[in-house]
């Protein structure tokens, strides 16, 4: 364990962990308001990555319905990331309208929305496969324009390489996390959102249009998911329409580890899991997918409510 390895792992872990945090916050926002997990979140993550790819590259691969179609324009990476995120936000709103609101209106058991959101996820994923094919999409090497592919420096004589993609992952995630935390704790909309999260009936009786805030929450959640998908896609490639499934599960591990419904918990959980993966010794790398769940298991043994979670109280 050299100092260079330590620094390298730390940077790798913070970078990927911050994206996990962004992604997991999408789950947390919906959970804190509706008390249920949105199982379509992983599909929106995938969709966001594909949308940004399409906007930045302008084409749709070789074996889907859209093979050979190309957009009349392409966008530089950052505008594409933002627009892709925005469109993923709209997809998040569609998930609310299709999978959640109809059930809520009929007063159905909240657990049923779990199933309907899973249904919407399957539809989304199949739609992506139908349109864009099942192949792997890799962002071109020059996706960030003229930026060099990596920054290399030395620690105690050994090289440490930080890829530009990792720096962008970390910087974008940090900005999103800080912006979201600020908006929720300081702005009027954020306060209303917290009120809705604490008690929807009471919030409504204070003049807050609860359904509008729920819709807004799904939008935000979709933006977070879609942008996280793009960020991971640029760094590791988009592995196909089922890209989001593994990350969807990882995101669940993050929020349970951090404490269900807790925003700081999602951030901490994301970082812990990212670092846990990064510090896994190289000869154990085949175990990487298991790291989140091993960490989760270990933490829940000691703190059943998660790192920063409050003990579950029955909603009155």
């Amino acid at each position: 364990m050299t100092p260079a390895w330590f620094i390298q792992s730390l940077l790798n872990g913070l970078s990927i962990g911050s994206v996990y945090a962004v992604f997991a916050l999408g789950y947390t926002l919906v959970f804190s308001i509706l008390g249920i997990i949105n199982f379509a979140h992983g599909a929106v993550f995938t969709l966001g990555a594909y949308l940004t790819y399409a906007l930045a590259v302008g084409s749709f691969g070789l074996n889907g319905l859209l093979a050979g179609v190309s957009l009349p324009f392409t966008l530089p990476f950052f505008p594409a990331l933002l627009l892709g995120g925005f469109l993923a936000g709209l997809a998040g709103m569609a998930v609310e309208r299709l999978a959640f609101r109809p059930l809520r209106r009929r007063g159905a058991d909240a657990l049923l929305a779990l199933v309907s959101s899973l249904g919407v996820a399957l539809i989304l994923v199949n739609l992506i496969q139908y349109l864009a094919g099942a192949e792997i999409y890799a962002f071109p090497a020059d996706v960030f324009g003229g930026l060099p592919p990596a920054v290399i420096f030395r620690v105690a004589g050994k090289p440490v390489a930080v890829r530009t993609a990792q720096i962008i992952l970390f910087a974008v995630s940090l900005i999103m996390l800080a912006g979201l935390m600020w908006a929720i704790s300081r702005t009027r909309a954020g306060k209303a959102l917290r009120a809705v999260a604490e008690n929807t009936d009471t919030a409504a009786l204070l003049g807050i249009n609860v359904n509008l805030f729920i819709l807004g929450t799904f939008f935000l959640s979709g933006v977070l998911g879609g942008m996280a998908g793009t960020l991971i896609g640029t760094s590791y490639g988009i592995s196909g329409p089922y890209f989001g499934v593994a990350y969807g599960l990882k995101g669940l591990a993050v929020i349970v580890l951090g404490g269900l419904g807790s925003i700081p918990g999602a951030v901490l959980g994301g970082l812990v899991i990212g670092l846990g993966e990064a510090f896994l010794p190289a000869d154990m790398s085949s175990w990487k997918e298991a790291v989140p769940f091993v960490l989760l298991f270990a933490v829940l043994l000691i703190r059943p409510q998660g790192l920063l979670g409050e003990r579950m109280e029955q909603k009155v």
């Binding site: 009027r188 306060k191 917290r194 919030a203 009786l205 204070l206 249009n209 609860v210």
Partner: protein, 255 residues
């Protein structure tokens, strides 16, 4: 006197239980009406129907002449009907100030977006809302704790914060569900004077649910009596005290 709030023939049942049966009641401008009745009489259900939380099976609610039956609770609140809860419902994790600010949103003229992106108009509005919220907190004597979490307040203070929060809606009618519950006689007296004070200061009509009959009789212009979902009587306190049906059903020992 013109009715600012009127309920006409409200009926609501839960399963086989008739919680409200043909209940009609009017509250006039600036009037303080008491609503009394034994446990389970349907008083809270009546408030839930008025505020849109519970849909009536039949009947109509009007606020300032407008039919509000079946409107969403937030629309009804925005039209000027505010309430407090029997089982206090504050946002415990939020500060006193934020609890009041949340309710003031209805009157924000700039969109939420303006505040979110920090436009000057949004910021100005945020400042006025804050000043108003502090005023309301000082009105109920809680301004010193404005930044403390609502969950840290004593029971009586929570009740007062709930009233301040309801007032932040700028209501025309205020519904108070057992605001004096759990208070000692001196506190109850203080609350009675406080209710009369805000009624006058804000030009409010008030509908007050309260079990403590002397308090209700002492401050209300009119009193309505509910029993098993039926409206037994409505009238001036001195007439209600003499009403036979009321005495046998409810006042029994107290009158």
């Amino acid at each position: 006197m013109s009715a600012i709030l009127s309920a006409e023939k409200i009926t609501r049942s839960f399963g086989g239980l008739l919680a409200l049966s043909d209940v009609s009641l009017e509250v006039g401008e600036g009037e303080l009406v008491g609503l009394i009745g034994p446990n389970g009489a349907g008083k809270t259900t009546f408030f839930n129907v008025l505020t849109g939380l519970t849909r009536p099976d039949a009947g109509q609610v009007r606020l300032c002449g407008q039919d509000i039956t079946g409107l969403r609770p937030d629309r009804i609140a925005a039209l000027g009907l505010a309430r407090t809860f029997q089982n206090i419902r504050l946002f415990g994790n939020m500060s006193l100030l934020d609890n009041v600010l949340v309710a003031g949103q209805v009157h924000a003229r700039c969109g939420l977006m303006a505040g979110l992106v920090g436009l000057p108009s949004g910021r100005r509005e945020e400042r006025t809302a804050r000043t108003r919220a502090i005023e309301l907190l000082s009105l109920v004597g809680l301004a010193d704790h404005a930044l403390a979490p609502a969950g840290s307040l004593s029971y009586g203070d929570r009740r007062r914060l709930e009233i301040a929060r309801a007032l932040a809606l700028g209501p025309k009618v205020l519904l108070l569900d057992e605001p004096a519950a759990g208070m000692n006689p001196a506190e109850k007296q203080g609350l009675a004077e406080f209710i009369l004070g805000i009624k006058k200061a804000f030009g409010l009509a008030v509908l007050l649910i309260e079990h403590h009959v002397p308090l209700v009789m002492g401050i209300c212009d009119r009193v309505a009596v509910l029993d098993f979902g039926q409206l037994l009587a409505v009238g001036r306190p001195e007439d209600i005290r003499k009403d036979r049906a009321v005495i046998s059903a409810y006042l029994g020992g107290t009158a």
